[in-house]
């Protein structure tokens, strides 16, 4: 489904990604973790072409992300993305946030889009919030709306960049529950997160990044058993403490 092969990226002299390779098969859930600044966000932003890269190749299905002629908007409409800060459009109601992209990008009819929006909001446990504005919702609610907005495009895969890091502790679970359900429904997912509980429950593999390199890419049992690299062991011991 998503195939990253030998990708390197530089900001001027500084190399953010070093020869990264990673395969996500259809229906797989990959958790990406690692210390701050290790390049996790950059890596998943490369997967939908939000960040350009200078070396290597990324394929989504049989579309090459970095190739010249690629229709990036079309590719991106097939990949959902959820951000740390939700990034709902503040001047639109919840309903419009979810409906507008369906109408303008997919060309769905207004009625069909609206019906889909309502159904998704129900699935997210937010049936009565449709006509509120994002700033009138809690962080956890906003993030669930953001997930609904991404799902409304019927994506073939979902990318999550620390979807719970900006949330108060008591709201983390309501978002994780939605993500777990999504994973169990068979969605292909790449999730940057430090929520190891989530990884334990639904991840197929855990990828550990450090200083731009993929240091470890292991099935979750192996990863939580004994990570091979010292860095990963140290990192795990730190984040599992709390």
């Amino acid at each position: 489904m998503i195939e990253v092969t030998g990708v390197s990226k530089w900001y001027q002299q500084f190399q953010v990604l070093k020869d990264c390779s990673l395969t996500i098969k259809s229906g797989e859930v990959i958790v990406i973790c690692g210390p701050s600044g290790s390049g996790k966000s950059t890596l998943i932003k490369c997967m939908n072409g939000l960040e350009p890269f200078q070396q290597g190749e990324i394929k989504v299905g049989d579309v090459s992300v970095g190739a010249k002629g690629t229709d990036l908007p079309k590719l991106r409409s097939r990949i959902g993305m959820v951000f740390q800060n939700f990034e709902l459009f503040p001047h639109m109601t919840v309903r419009k946030n979810i409906t507008l992209p369906q109408v303008k990008i997919l060309g769905r009819s207004k009625d069909e889009s609206d019906a889909r929006t309502i159904k998704l909001l129900e699935r997210m446990g937010l049936p009565s919030q449709a006509d509120k504005f994002p700033a009138q919702l809690s962080g956890g609610q906003q993030q669930r709306v953001a997930i609904a907005r991404a799902l409304a495009m019927d994506p073939v895969a979902m990318l999550f960049d620390e979807p719970t890091s900006a949330l108060d502790p008591e709201m983390i679970n309501e978002v994780l529950d939605v993500m777990v359900a999504l994973a169990q429904d068979g969605m292909t997912m790449a999730v940057v997160t430090h929520e190891m509980g989530f990884a334990r429950r639904v991840a197929n593999r855990v990828v550990f990044m450090d200083q731009g390199s993929i240091v470890e890419d292991a099935p979750k049992e192996a990863f939580f058993g004994t990570p091979r690299s010292e860095r990963a062991q140290l990192f795990l011991s730190k984040i599992l403490q709390h």
């Binding site: 932003k45 939908n48 939000l50 908007p73 079309k74 590719l75 991106r76 409409s77 097939r78 990949i79 993305m81 951000f83 800060n85 990034e87 709902l88 459009f89 503040p90 001047h91 507008l100 992209p101 303008k104 990008i105 509120k132 504005f133 994002p134 700033a135 009138q136 919702l137 907005r149 991404a150 495009m153």
Partner: protein, 239 residues
Amino acid sequence: MNYSWDWGLLFRSPHIGWIAQGFVTTIEMAVLAWCIAMTLGSLIGTLRTLDNPIAKRIGTLYVEIFRNVPLLAQLFLWYYVIPELLPASAQKFVKRDMADPQFWTSVVGLGCYTAARVAEQVRSGIQSIPRGQRSAALAMGFSTAQVYRYVLLPIGFRTVIPSLTNDFLGVFKNSSLALTLGVMELTAAARQIEEYTFHSFEPFAAATVLYSCVTLLVISLMRVVERRTRIAGNVGTAR
């Protein structure tokens, strides 16, 4: 001071007609120039926020030129110099066939000058939006044009409504410079009354009152617009 006041002269024909006509012309010029300024200014301001370096360069060049040359000089350039540079057929139209050339030259001159200011507001409005909004919109699959149309411009404009109000009032007041090209707008009408009656206080007082009324009206109108367009739930919202 030995001045014999005669407020009645303002209401006598033909003075009242001059003032009315001048007032209408001033409003017409301001509104038409504002339409040019908003359209062109939004475009130029947007260019300056694109990733494309050539687009950025063009936007910056426009703003630097039109903001730094005095407005009066710009009006003279538009009226006396630009027509000479046009191809022959266009020159013939501008100099002979175009109706009311002073009026339209002033509108274009004021519009292009104000566009540079609007462009700066639009640019700062867009740049005040967190980078993540653009990323999120792009990640949805919106094209760059759609990202601006549906996300960046609507948010950006809301944040700069107060400054845009100032710019509109600016073009309204600056329209008085059109009298140097011979346009009979409000200030010119006041001057004409003075020349005919040797009364200067009354006609200029009348002009001042009219300018102030419009300014106050626009300010209170824009307060309402600001309140209506404020994003619900955000800081400063009464709800």
